[in-house]
């Protein structure tokens, strides 16, 4: 009896290769739990790097240096990170600068109680502002303007007024030069200001756009409360 064996060879091989493929997929499924990189809550935050001004000079900043990869939920030793995307010529950023500076001082343990102890005894929270230059007429930023905005010094102009005359006191947190919008594009930021709270392991824990009614401080308090990290617990 005549048989067409060619089809058998191809079918047999295809089945074997598909089986090999599925074994590989099952191996990957059982040994890894990949986390998507992105800026939604639960995703791994994209890279954030650039030259940073911390009050004394410009040095290299890499967000990874502030992360604790083996951090687990509930661990009070990990350092959290609040990221603000802002533009020194953005009026909303100028409006928020005072309150955001106070929140940063509180969670960075700079604010003290009357007895000299830090007003906040919970997990340490680092703050960083990624200062960009939006593609809007009149938004012309520079490193000098970033310094002027942060320190309230110099004669640079922020949104038509002297940066030194903005509301609130000088900031104590880091400012990253993102005038080329590299970080902003990486994080797909639609506008400024935009706020993110990053867990110590680099996972986005809170995004302001997903909680428009909640301020950064409220978000931090809620997250710490949910994870049993409030100092009085």
């Amino acid at each position: 009896m005549k048989e067409n064996t060619e089809a058998d060879v191809r079918t047999d091989t295809a089945i074997k290769i598909l089986a090999l493929f599925f074994v590989a997929i099952i191996f990957l499924a059982f040994t890894t739990s990949p986390i998507k990189t992105g800026t939604k809550e639960g995703e791994r935050a994209p890279p954030l790097e650039g030259m940073m001004y911390n009050g004394s000079g410009w040095t290299q900043f890499n967000m990874d240096d502030y992360m604790t990869t083996n951090w687990t939920v509930g661990d009070a030793n990990g350092e959290w990170l609040v990221v603000e995307f802002m533009d020194t010529d953005c009026t909303f950023c100028l409006r928020d600068a005072d309150e955001f500076g106070q929140v940063a001082d509180f969670f960075m343990k700079i604010s003290k109680d009357t007895d000299g102890t830090p007003a906040w005894n919970g997990p340490t929270v680092n703050f960083v502002a990624s200062a960009t230059e939006l593609n809007i007429k009149g938004h012309d930023s520079s490193r000098a303007e970033i310094i002027s905005f942060r320190d309230k010094t110099g004669d640079s102009s922020c949104a038509g007024n002297a940066c030194s005359s903005r509301q609130g006191s000088a900031h104590n947190f880091m400012y990253v030069d993102d005038i080329d919008q590299e970080n902003m594009q990486e994080w797909k930021i639609p506008g400024t200001p935009s706020y993110f709270i990053i867990q110590p392991d680099g996972i986005v824990a809170w995004v302001h756009s997903e909680h428009p009614q909640e301020k950064v401080s409220d978000g931090l308090f809620r997250l710490f409360d949910e994870q049993g990290l409030m100092p009085n617990e």
Partner: protein, 202 residues
């Protein structure tokens, strides 16, 4: 275990597979023919080599996907301060997926080498089939088109100023497979395809 040592587990069979497809395979085949008589035939040696190379390609693609997944979990697999740091390449969310569909390059590699292995394996099993010459040509064209993807991925590495050793090994496997399919086509056209013909050097 050091990831560079693990990489040898891919490089060694890749070299053996390549050897079977070159002049070195003649000596190797002759010395092994007492134990594996089929290796005395050049076509069988060549297709065995091609099967080994494409299989290594699948295996290393799975490994790169595994490394990508581990890095996304926050782990460090093969991070290095030197230029050879696959963590920096495979962990870069901007470049570790294709720019159109967002599929991991490792998964694309698995599909690609799976297809190459299918061609190599079916031709090895049924070398005189009507479709054998066509499959070898398709294998060549597909592996040749893979050069464009390799060029794109190398441009990413240049931008990052880092080299992913695992990715590079997969790229080399693709190039060797391209040579393998091209050479097999030539052998078929030249009539160097029959088992009964004496083994000859290339």
């Amino acid at each position: 275990m050091n990831e560079n040592i693990i990489l040898l587990a891919y490089i060694i069979p890749l070299l053996v597979g390549t050897a079977f497809m070159t002049k070195a395979g003649d000596t190797l085949g002759t010395s092994l023919s007492s134990r594996y008589p089929s290796l005395v035939h050049r076509r069988r040696r060549h297709l065995l080599g091609l099967n080994i190379v494409t299989f290594v390609g699948i295996a290393i693609s799975v490994h790169t996907l595994w490394i990508s997944n581990k890095i996304s979990e926050g782990g460090s697999v093969c991070s290095s301060a030197t230029v050879f740091s696959c963590d920096d390449v495979l962990g870069n969310a901007s470049y570790n997926v294709d720019p159109i569909f967002g599929i991991s390059w490792g998964l694309i590699g698995m599909f690609a080498f799976g297809t190459f292995l299918f061609f190599a394996n079916t031709v090895a099993k049924e070398p005189d089939a009507r479709w054998a010459a066509r499959y070898m040509k398709w294998g060549f064209y597909l592996t040749a088109s893979g050069l464009l993807v390799i060029g794109l991925l190398i441009s990413y590495e240049i931008q990052m100023e880092k080299i992913c050793q695992y990715c590079t090994t997969a790229h080399v496997a693709n190039v060797i497979a391209m040579y393998g399919f091209w050479k097999a086509s030539k052998m078929h056209e030249a009539g160097e395809w029959k088992d009964e013909e004496p083994a000859s050097s290339s």
